[in-house]
Amino acid sequence: MDFFPFSRKLSPSLGGARGGLSEQGYRAKNFLEIFSEATIICLVILFLASCSKDEPKEKETEAYVPVPLVLEIPSLFEKNILAPVIPINNPLTEEGVALGKKLFFDPILSVDNSISCADCHAPSNSFTDEDQFSDGVNGVLGNRNSMPLFNLAWNYDERFFWDGSALSLEEQVFHPVTDTEEMANTWSNAEAALEASPDYPDLFLKAFGETKIDSVKVAKAIAQFERTLISGNSKFDKYLAGEVELSPSEENGIAVFMDETRGDCFHCHGNPNNPLWTDNIFHNNGLDSTFTDLGLGAVTGDPADNGKFKSPSLRNLAFTAPYMHDGRFNTLEEVIDQYSEGLKPSATIDPLMKKVAQGGVRITEKDKADLKAFLLSLSDEEFVKN
C-alpha cells in the first residue's frame, strides 16, 4: 500500500474519490483499471475474431457482447467518499442490470411462484416492506426485519445482512431463494423454471453470452441491479448542495445528532461529509441485556460479537418502518426514546453507548422532535418514486 503525498490527496479533482489509501479504494480503483484492461483485451479478441473467415460465427459473437453500464454517481458521493465496489468478475452491463431487475420483480424464483424479491423489498418502501417480519412462501415468517436496499455498492467491507453473514452482494442474493422462511426453492428448480421460460434464456444469453442458466448468473444479475439502486437526493442532500434551506427544527436536529453531549449519533451513523449515513459496521447498541438472536456472534463464533448488528443507514426512514434488526419499533419516536432512556447494559455493549448507566443520552423532548425532523430530511422521495 502506497503512501501518497498530500498534493494528490488534498484536491478532490486530482485525487478524486479513488485517491484514498484504504484497501477498499484500491480495490475499487484496481477493478476499474483491470476492467478497462479486460475491455481492451475483449476488443482485441473481437478484432482478431473479425479477421476470421468464419463469418456467421463472428456475427453471433458480436451480437452478445453486453454494453458496459456506468453508474450515475451523485456528485456528493463522488466528491466525499471512495468509489463504489464493483467486482471484477461482475461488471455492470445494461443487459445484466435489465435481467437483474426482471428477476427481482418475478416470482419465478420462489418454490410456488408466489413471491418475488420485491414482495419484501418494495420500491415504494425504499426496497423494504412494512412488516416486522416478512411473509415467506406459505406465510412463514422470518426472524429479522427486511433490510432496505440502496447505496449497497458503497458497503466497502462487503458484509451484507443484519449479521454480516454474506461476504458479497452476489453471495447475499443466493440466500433468500433457498431459505425455507423466504422463497423456499431449490436452485435446480429455479434454474429449470428459468430455462423453460420463453424469455429468460435469451436474456441470459444477452447478459452473459450463454443461454445456460445457473444460480451464479442469477445472483450476478440481481446484484448488478441492486448496485444501481442509488439514493442521493434527499432534502438534506439538496441542503448540502446549497439548493434548499433547513427548517429551524431540522437545523437543531443535525446539531443534536452531531453533539457528543446530546444525541451523539455521528460515530456510527456518520456526518455531512459522508452521504451514506452508516458506518456499515456491527455494534451492540444496547437493545437488550440478554440475546435471543446473537447476530454477528452467531456468524463469527466469537462471543465478543454477540448481540451485534449492522448499523443501518438513516436514509429513507420515512419509508422503512418498523425499525431495528427485529423490527421492534414502529415509530422513530420509539427509536429515539430507546437511545435517550432505554439502553440496557450487556457484556458486549459498544463503548460508544456512553450513557448506558443513565439509560441513554437523555435529551429533551424538543431535541427529540428536532432530531426526528432532521432524520426525516434524509428521506429521498425521488428514490421511492422511480
Binding site: S22, W154, D259, F266, P351
Partner: protein
C-alpha cells in the same frame, strides 16, 4: 568477455561508493523503497486484535481495562540527513488495529540510501492538513470531527471497557482530536498533534521500519490517567485533549529496521 569484465569493474566501483560511511560527502544515487509497520504492546506484552475485548490490562492508576477498538492517524513522514537536510515524504495512514488494516504501508517515493539522523512523523494531522472533509478515504470510515468542534479529523480512537469504582464494566472512549475550548463566544483551539522523533536510522536498501506503540503509555506519563474521573465525552473536553497530547509523547518508539 572483455565487456563483462569492464561492467563488473564499474559495478564494483559503484558498490564501493555505496558503502562509503561518510554521509556528508558520500551521497549516492541509490534509492530504496521504505515501508513502515506498526506494532502494539501493553508494557512488555504484544497486543493484537486477538487480545481485544477482554478486561486484562491494568493501567498506571490501577484500573483494570480492555481494548475494543484502536485506530489512529499518522502523517508527514520526514527523514533528516546528518547535513541537516530534511526530506518530507508527506502523506498519511490510518492505522486500524481493530480490523487489522493499514498496519503497514510503503512510501510511494523511494528514498536515497544512506544514514539519517532522524525519522519522524506527525501523530494526527497538523493544522494545514486537518481540512474538514478533504480526504474521501477518511470520510468513508467516518473519521471526521463534528464542525461544532472545529471539524477536520480524529487523531485517535481508543475504546474499551474498564472496571469502575463500583466494579461495574464501563465503556471508555479515549478519542484524540485538536483541543477546542467552547466556553467563549468563538471556538478557541490549542494544538494537540505532535511530532514523534524515532531517532537515527540507516537505510541500506529496501527496508521496513517498525514503529512501536505502547498503549499503556497513554494512561501513564506525565498524567496518571483516572478513568473513573474521565472516561467519556473527551472530544469536547479541552483539558482532556491537552492531557492526551502530553501523554502521547512517550507512546511511540522505533522498532527494528529490517533491510529486505
Amino acid at each position: 568477455m572483455k565487456k563483462n569484465i569492464t561492467l563488473l569493474f564499474l559495478v564494483s566501483i559503484f558498490l564501493s561508493a555505496c558503502s562509503d560511511d561518510d554521509d556528508s560527502i558520500g551521497r549516492t544515487d541509490a534509492k530504496a523503497r521504505v515501508g513502515f509497520n506498526f506494532t502494539h504492546q501493553w508494557g512488555d506484552d504484544v497486543v493484537t486484535k486477538n487480545d481485544f475485548n477482554t478486561v486484562q490490562y491494568v493501567n498506571e492508576n490501577g484500573e483494570q481495562m480492555s481494548i475494543e477498538r484502536l485506530r489512529y492517524l499518522v502523517s508527514n513522514i520526514t527523514f533528516k540527513r546528518f547535513d541537516g537536510e530534511t526530506i518530507t515524504m508527506g502523506g498519511y495512514n490510518l492505522v486500524d488495529l481493530t480490523n487489522g488494516t493499514d498496519l503497514s504501508f510503503v512510501l510511494r517515493d523511494s528514498i536515497t540510501v544512506g544514514k539519517y539522523s532522524n525519522v519522524s512523523f506527525t501523530f494526527g494531522f497538523d493544522n494545514e492538513d486537518n481540512q474538514n472533509g478533504a480526504y474521501p478515504d477518511l470520510n468513508s470510515v467516518l473519521w471526521n470531527v463534528p464542525e461544532m468542534l472545529g471539524g477536520g479529523y480524529h487523531y485517535m480512537q481508543l475504546e474499551g471497557k474498564f472496571m469502575d469504582s463500583t466494579d461495574t464494566e464501563t465503556g471508555y472512549q479515549y478519542h484524540a482530536i485538536r483541543a477546542v475550548d467552547r466556553s467563549g463566544e468563538e471556538l478557541a483551539f490549542e494544538d494537540t498533534f505532535f511530532t514523534v522523533d524515532l531517532g537515527a536510522v540507516e537505510i541500506k536498501g529496501d527496508a521496513n521500519i517498525a514503529i512501536k506503540m505502547d498503549i499503556a503509555e497513554w494512561f501513564k506519563n506525565p498524567v496518571k490517567w483516572n478513568l473513573n474521573e474521565l472516561h467519556s465525552m473527551m472530544m469536547p473536553n479541552f483539558e482532556a485533549q491537552k492531557m492526551i497530547s502530553q501523554n502521547g509523547k512517550s507512546v511511540f518508539s522505533l522498532g527494528e529496521v529490517a533491510t529486505q
